[in-house]
Symmetry: C2
Subunit: 284 residues, 2 copies
């Protein structure tokens, strides 16, 4: 727990390369998970994607070596290179090389009693095409069933997020669609919905699919203030009323709820899946 010590020490900036034979997203995810463990440090991050041939690998090595020479300190290289010939070339750069496959592929081959294909992701095109279609469908569904849309295709929805304006419904629905292929609709709770003490009529037959978002009034006010400064919409009293009314609606109707105030979209999405048990249609 050297956290305090790290923060007080001088910030050292290191260059980090993400080298990949595909998009670089896995290498970025991997590298980022590790880098955030080093609180005191700053990193300059460069993504070098689509390094799928020996020629491109040599070019990537040149780029890494140039940075190493310029900065006088070797860059960190996070790589996800499946093809061994390509990986071994990049391994030979002046950078400090960490490949994602190195430590795991061997043990997994042994455990699964199967040789891995050592093929870059392009061999998985057919699966990708299928996933692509599922993701597009889910995204279109989220867009068509967003905040106040006329179309309310709740029959097809895996989940319906409800909450007051700016509580995070739209980005969460889109994330659920794009990341997991889930059909997520959302319904904005407005004053009309609070007048009666019952569920809005549009939602009545779908109570099992509802999931409530809530948010701390102070945070919501910041967000609304940016959007419509000094309006009724962004006033403390209006916001306090809406948030309280939404929360009591959730409680009366036994709707599960998550407080979005301090959660990232990923976290909200993942917690919703965890609590509802909805199956992912796609995997990253």
């Amino acid at each position: 727990m050297n956290r305090a010590a790290n923060i007080e020490s001088v910030v050292i900036k290191r260059t980090v390369f993400f080298v990949s034979d595909q998009t670089g997203i896995t290498a970025e995810t991997m590298g980022h998970s590790l880098m955030i463990q080093f609180d005191g440090m700053e990193f300059r991050q460069l993504t070098v994607p689509f390094i799928s041939t020996v020629d491109k690998a040599i070019e990537a090595v040149r780029r890494i070596d140039r940075v190493a020479a310029e900065e006088g300190i070797r860059p960190i290289v996070f790589s996800t290179l499946v093809q061994e010939d390509v990986r071994n070339i990049v391994r030979g750069s002046a950078g400090f090389f960490l490949d994602f496959f190195d430590p795991f592929l061997g043990p997994l081959e042994h455990e699964l009693k199967t040789q891995s294909s050592h093929m870059a992701g392009r061999t998985h095109r057919m699966a990708d095409t299928h996933d692509y279609a599922k993701r597009i469908d889910a995204t279109n569904f989220a867009l068509a069933n967003d905040d106040g849309s006329v179309l309310r295709d709740y029959e097809r929805a895996d989940i319906i997020l409800i909450g007051v304006s700016r509580s995070g419904k739209t980005p969460t629905c889109l994330y659920l669609a794009m990341q997991y292929g889930i059909f997520a609709a959302n319904y904005p709770l407005t004053e009309d919905d609070f007048e009666s003490r019952k569920l809005p009529p549009a939602l009545e037959s779908f109570s099992q699919k509802l999931f409530g978002l809530t948010i701390k009034p102070e945070r919501l006010q910041q967000i609304r203030q940016e959007r419509r400064p000094d309006s009724r919409y962004s006033s403390a009293s209006q916001i306090a009323f809406e948030v309280r009314a939404a929360e009591s609606l959730y409680e009366r109707n036994s709707i599960p709820v998550i407080d979005a105030t301090e959660c990232s979209i990923e976290e909200i999405s993942s917690r919703i899946l965890d609590r509802t048990g909805i199956e992912r249609r796609l995997r990253p």
Copy 2:
């Protein structure tokens, strides 16, 4: 290259757990990258997120052990557990345990001459809040500047994707927003735009920001056919005309172009960043 051999062999199904102290997305990404290297195998995938305490770790171990006993073969456990006490408990399950941090954190600490914090992601709340706001801004921008919207805030756009209907503009813009915080607008090319041989007036001052999407007519026809079967919109001749006209517009105006036919959204997005050099505002 045992690929053919693998495909022909009997498919064995193994259960895979993704255990994480956060959302599980990194563990899923890591596991997926490895699993797709084993073509012949099928995996049942279970995500166990938010394992951030010793009690939850013990519960996760019980779940893994139960599956091991039921299936008579040990499950694979991909974990991203930063806290050592939690990690060591899950390491003790009956599963075949691969933790993402194990092989990398030690070497990185040595290279960076810094102790890692060994703290679960929650300590990075402030950064997350900031990233959250950027992501929401970018997502709202993409939604407000989507296909045929009235608002065309191209001044603020990092990039403007153009293409015919259903060439993949909307999901790509949303992905660029959510994954990288990039402000991506899109403009649909229609017959009106093809009559003149010049850039559509709305785009004239922004030619440096344009990026074209194209798609093979056969694939586009499949997509449009699903949407409006047997219409002019989905007819072979109309589609061939539109795709040809769009491609010649790109060529005449030196607009970079990517063929989206066989690309995932991630790949289109990553290729666009790679070719334009647009800086990511967010990292995964």
